[in-house]
């Protein structure tokens, strides 16, 4: 491959990673506060459908994106209502919502299937896009890609560098202690569940408004919500590492297209499932790295040690364990 082809490939990786990046960041934010929103896969589809429908009716991609974000927050509000308010299992509610939101998207989106609608167009950033290599890869995209890039830094800075972020982490680690310090854990969990849902909604818009433009059944976004959930674990609940995971995943997806060209006898459907065994494999490594007792002889192997350090990072202690309503 020539230099310009490589640039094109990496530019595609950066753009293609945007939806999964936004979803993983949103979920990281929610899980940092101790809440699991398992409805990602359905939420992304529903948001993608709404984004396309609104953009089609108003001929404005921007309004479509806003509507998608609100839908994402709405589904997250349902998760909050059932788990934070009614004390039901977050996993159960999330799972039901992911199926229901998907079917709702197919049902309501039926009239918009296979239509041509507005898309986000590229807006190269004036001076930055002229930088060799980095310019074409990072700064010749549409504004949603830029928003995704900016969101990585914003999330990291917010969680680890601001007093609000400290309170967020405190609630996720030990809501009782946070309560004793004068916080309102349930209110904070509500806020971050909604914020996370907002970003997941944006991920849906990124799908139907430029990565896989349009709506249909299947749309092509199916399954990404689950990968985003896995990426949060992969990233050790750290936004930067979750983002790295999103780019790695996008890179592998692009590679898959090339592989398909090299081995044409294997049907295309087989390559589409390739990310999932990979996901299980990385989760295995992470679980091994996060185990407290790693066999002593393994610790001496330097390469393994370096690998394990990359994957260390623990879940928020109170993740998925809601405070009993009225127990404080």
């Amino acid at each position: 491959m020539s230099g310009s082809e490589w640039l094109l490939l990496f530019s595609g990786v950066v753009a293609g990673a945007t939806p999964i990046l936004l979803a993983a960041l949103g979920e990281t934010l929610t899980e940092k506060a101790g809440v699991i929103n398992l409805s990602l896969d359905g939420t992304i589809l529903l948001a993608a459908m709404v984004a396309f429908a609104v953009a089609f009716e108003t001929q404005s991609a921007f309004l479509g994106c806003i509507a998608a974000c609100l839908v994402g927050a709405l589904v997250a509000a349902a998760v909050g209502l059932f788990s934070l308010k009614l004390g039901q299992s977050q996993v159960a509610v999330g799972f039901v919502l992911t199926l229901t939101a998907r079917d709702l998207a197919y049902f309501l989106g039926n009239p918009y299937a296979r239509l041509h609608g507005p898309q986000f167009s590229s807006v190269p950033i004036p001076i930055l896009s002229d930088i060799p290599v980095l310019g074409p890869v990072l700064f010749q995209h549409n504004w949603m890609v830029y928003a995704g890039l900016g969101m990585i830094v914003l999330c990291w800075a917010y969680i680890y560098r601001t007093p609000m972020g400290l309170r967020l982490r405190a609630v996720g680690e030990d809501p009782r202690a946070a309560f004793a310090r004068g916080e309102n854990p349930v209110r904070l969990q509500w806020i971050y569940t909604l914020c996370g849902g907002f970003l997941v909604g944006a991920a849906g818009a990124a799908f139907s408004l430029f990565v896989k433009p349009g709506w249909g059944r299947p749309q092509g976004a199916e399954g990404t919500g689950w990968i985003a959930l896995a990426l949060v674990i992969f990233g050790g609940w750290h936004p930067m590492r979750a983002a790295a995971g999103a780019y790695l995943f996008s890179f592998l997806q692009v590679l898959g297209i090339y592989f398909q060209g090299w081995i044409p006898t294997v049907p295309a459907q087989v390559f589409q499932v390739a990310p999932f065994p990979l996901m299980i494999f990385t989760l295995l490594i992470i679980a091994y790295a996060q185990r407290t007792t790693i066999p002593r002889e393994d610790r001496h192997r330097l390469r393994l040690k370096a690998l394990l350090e990359v994957f260390s990072g623990a879940a928020p202690s109170a993740l998925g364990k809601p405070l009993r309503p009225g127990s404080l």
């Binding site: 996993v91 159960a92 674990i233 996901m279």
Partner: protein, 331 residues
Amino acid sequence: MAVFGFTTGILMLAGAPPMEAYGLLLKGSLGSGKKVGAVLTAWVPLTLCAVGLLYTFRIALWNIGVEGQMIMGAVFATAVLRWGVESRLPLFYLILAFPAAALGGGLWAMGAGLLKTKGGVHEIFAGLGLNFVAQGILLYLIFGPWKRPGVASMSGTAPFPPELWLSSVSGVRLSPEGVFLAAAALAVTVWMFRYSRLGLVFKAAGNNPTAVMLFGEKPGRYMILAMVLAGAFAGLAGGVQVAGVYHRLIPSISSNYGYLALLVVMLSNYRVALVPAVAFFFACLNVGGIQLPMVLKIDSSLAGVIQGAWVLAALAAVAWLRKEGRPEEAR
């Protein structure tokens, strides 16, 4: 009532006459003997999968991999049946297909169980990942080694000769053996949970693994056993679909029943007594939904929306009833 209001709102939003849609759902599922037969055909795999899930929920595992377990059951059953083509003992292979299907589903579930207990991978991700892998294997087989002579197509493998089919009620693809299998699964499970020691250990290990460990039992081993049982039931469901309904292996052999079964069990509030009725209701919605696109030009996924709304309403109702009580642990 809330469910009714919600669905009616959704229908109006889609610009469809709500009453007509409900009428169609009812007529499309219970309107004639043939339709009821179709409902029962869907009821069999749904009940088998749901019964299996009762075991894993009892031990507090989220077996989300039912879909993949059903697929592997279908694949194993197909392998045996392909073997039986042109043999002199078709009945032998037809019977053998069912233990093979249970084995296929059980092994696949064991994979997720081992990943959970030995590998520390959460069962949701293990199960889900394996679902997609099973789908990949299925497609590979249909388009690769098992393809129809000449053309590989989405319509599946070449159909088996009729001597390798389960019997069927005339006019519908409902096999009495399938119904019997589902009913037997229900009976065994009722007995297991009510009278057997194993059923008790499952429940104990689900509620308090540490206590079970102190009593000298290994919770991890029981988790794997529960997974294998669940997988075996799901595998049987796959076997019924192959030998009794489609008479070949098709890409959509699991027809989403694996995921739907999770909803069935949740709406039954994890109680075996309610499973057959809820499964019947869901099967009605699924079969009734088939006509919606043709008559009202709306998508058949309405059935899924109604099912989801019911489960959400049930979750809310349960929370309401035990408002004072202790919220259940994450299941």
